[in-house]
């Protein structure tokens, strides 16, 4: 809870204070599964297997909170985001937004719910239609949801541009006239147009230059404070996730292996994969780098088509034992708010010397 208090203190007033335990979460994901068929043949496509992209994932996000979702490419973090928004219809499981199950909604009812949740994409070059002006890109969701017309619409577009620190005059220009950072601001303005409660940020800064990344992170934090937004922040950059998140979930081959408050996770990681991941991130300080103990994992992450049985991390785990090959470890709460899926979290946690003492 200390983590939340300090987040509150540093981010100023929130529109809706996250009173964590007592209040129902804004978003609840229960036993979410997203499988994609693997097919062979051109004409008669035979299904030869399934990609287990997301395999029984459960978590919740509190109102006004940022949940970081990290993992390596192919671990299912982006698929999880898309399945929550029903951009993919999940194979199984429930996604509740304020108690309403999105997986059961269709047509108009789903469209109405979509107003309350939006997405910011990784590639601001691919996610904006090059043939539309910035103004019409931002106005489009207003039209679809019938929120504003005519002059009111123009005014709203100008207001949104100002909100993301762009000149309202830019409304008449086209995406190619803008830099990566500016395009990402346009994408954010579009997402904000429908006044959503919940935004999924899918690698929103990965395509941007280092000096621009901090501008976008600060903007996302300002907007969250101003509108009480709830974020699911999907990223592979663990340093950025530590900065922006209140809680963090770690995924590996379609499963959540650990989830905890930000400081708890980074300072006391209990899953061997989390430990390896954190130890692999290079620190921009040669003195720290020299002292650091790095856990170098052998091999590559396995394919989600044929994930290893029992614990999916066992072929790469430095602490592997027979039990790990035979039985899948459940995701269990081992300390208040700290969940981990490892049979031997006690032993692993005790051996964790990942983080160097701050100098």
């Amino acid at each position: 809870m200390a983590g939340e208090r300090d987040a509150l203190a540093t981010r100023g007033e929130r529109a809706t204070p996250p009173d964590g335990q007592s209040e129902a979460p804004l978003v609840e994901v229960r036993h979410l599964k997203m499988y994609f068929p693997v097919t062979q043949g051109l004409l008669l496509q035979r299904r030869t297997g399934w990609v287990h992209a997301v395999d029984d994932v459960s978590f919740h996000i509190r109102r006004g909170e940022t949940l970081g979702l990290v993992g390596e490419s192919g671990c299912g973090k982006s698929t999880t985001g898309r399945a929550i928004l029903q951009l993919y219809r999940p194979t199984a499981g429930e996604v509740l937004l304020e108690g309403e199950d999105l997986t059961r909604l269709k047509g108009d009812r789903l469209r109405r719910m979509r107003r309350r949740m939006q997405m910011i994409f990784q590639d601001p070059y691919a996610s904006l239609n090059p043939r539309m002006t910035v103004g019409s890109i931002i106005a489009e969701p207003l039209e679809i949801h019938g929120l504003a017309r005519g002059k009111a619409k123009q005014e709203r577009v100008a207001e949104l541009l100002r909100l993301v620190n762009l000149n309202p005059y830019f409304a008449n220009r086209y995406p190619h006239e803008f830099s990566g950072g500016q395009r990402q601001r346009i994408g954010i303005a579009r997402a904000l147009a429908v006044e959503p409660q919940f935004i999924i940020c899918d690698e929103p800064i990965s395509a941007l230059d280092v000096s621009i990344q901090a501008q976008i992170i600060n903007l996302l934090e300002e907007l969250q404070a101003q509108f009480g937004l709830t974020y699911l922040f999907i990223a592979h950059d663990l340093s950025v996730v530590r900065h922006i998140s209140d809680r963090v979930a770690v995924m590996y081959v379609g499963k959540i292996v650990e989830i905890a408050d930000r400081n708890e996770l980074y300072e006391h990681p209990l899953h061997p994969y989390t430990q390896a991941l954190l130890s692999a991130v290079p620190v921009p300080d040669p003195r720290v780098e020299k002292r650091r103990q790095r856990i170098i994992l052998t091999g590559d992450p396995p394919s989600p088509v044929n994930p290893p049985p029992a614990c999916r991390f066992h072929p790469r785990c430095p602490y592997v034992q027979d039990l790990c090959r035979e039985q899948e470890p459940p995701l269990q709460e081992v300390r208040p708010g700290h969940w981990v899926a490892c049979h031997f979290w006690r032993e692993v946690g005790a051996r964790a010397v990942v983080r160097p003492a701050p100098s």
Partner: protein
């Protein structure tokens, strides 16, 4: 001792429809035998172009080497004939790139691609070349190298492909390995494996390394010295520890302040560098960082400062003493 490599006042530009892109604007640096130099900067800062120029891999046109010399073991590479340069490339200087898939031939087995170089540069016969190829694949940590030598590039994962590239690069025991964003396309646990491998091979083979990256963390662990580039200029160069402990250019300082660190508790707010890098077609007359710089003085906008020494081995191109400016700012 004479350096292994010395780049003097190198300038490269590209002629495009929109005008002349000033990619590299007079950079100089030297590299000793066995030393690891990091060149860091953001996209468009000229770090990759300067490395490609070392290998004489800049297409001309549209590229143009405006001026400069590249001295490598007593020869100016820019003056060599094409066939002389071909002998150096791959043999004495090797290079690995960000995306190994685009640098490997998809229709040849990885074994064939490596042994071809051994036959060509080392004069080995086919059988000996194959044997050496298997040894190289083992050396870079490819499991069951004896069978994988006959696999095609697409049968390898991204990290394994980068290992194949490295095996190919070190096959002729080069004196210098240039690694251009070698881990940018890889996941962080695989990145750690590859950086570990480069470090180990560097020690075992005693080769010098130029590591080009946008990631300050990557150079911190691997490099002895670091050069920071901005808009085609080297704006700061220092031993690795000094650069991070005592950054003297406002751009370096800005970069370090703007990135969150995994080993630090959350900072209240990141301090971004405002604005954007300059357009390389219309470079400002003075210091290219001046429009984004909180410490800029009148002179910054009029004249580009030369690199000057501020401490042993520590050079910076700035009219302002950032250390003093920061201290004054605190007092004010």
């Amino acid at each position: 001792m004479e350096p292994l490599l010395e780049v003097r006042d190198l300038a490269v530009e590209f002629v495009t429809q929109d005008g002349i892109v000033h990619a590299v604007n007079g950079i100089s640096y030297a590299l000793r035998e066995g030393e690891a130099l990091g060149i860091v900067g953001e996209s468009g800062c000229g770090k990759s172009v300067s490395a490609l120029t070392l290998m004489r891999l800049i297409p001309t046109p549209p590229g143009r080497i405006v001026r400069g010399e590249i001295w490598f073991r007593g020869r100016d590479l820019l003056k060599l004939r094409d066939e002389e340069m071909r002998r150096i490339r791959g043999h004495e200087i090797a290079m690995i790139f960000q995306d190994p898939m685009t640098s490997l031939n998809p229709v040849l087995t990885v074994g064939r691609q490596i042994s071809e170089a051994l036959e060509l540069h080392k004069g080995l016969d086919r059988k000996a070349a194959r044997q050496r190829t298997i040894e190289l694949l083992e050396m870079v940590g490819i499991p069951s190298a004896r069978t994988r030598v006959d696999d095609y590039p697409h049968q390898f994962s991204g990290g394994m492909r980068q290992r194949v590239m490295i095996a190919m690069a070190i096959s002729c025991e080069p004196r210098l390995l240039i690694a251009d964003e070698p881990t940018t396309a890889l996941d962080v646990t695989i990145q750690a494996q590859i950086l570990d491998l480069i470090q180990r091979l560097r020690r075992e083979l005693g080769m010098a390394v130029i590591l080009i990256t946008h990631d300050l963390g990557v150079v911190a662990g691997l490099c002895d010295r670091i050069a920071v580039m901005y808009a085609g200029y080297i704006v700061e160069e220092a031993p690795a520890e000094d650069l991070f402990a005592d950054p003297r250019h406002p751009y370096t300082l800005g970069l370090l302040r703007s990135i969150p660190r995994i080993d630090e508790p959350r900072r209240e707010r990141l301090i971004p560098i405002e604005g954007m890098p300059p357009d390389l077609i219309n470079l400002p007359v003075g210091c290219p960082f001046a429009p984004r710089c909180a410490y800029a003085v009148d002179r910054s906008e009029l004249e580009m400062p030369e690199l000057r020494a501020v401490a042993p081995g520590h050079k910076v191109a700035c009219w302002v003493d950032v250390r003093e400016a920061v201290a004054d700012g605190r007092r004010a």
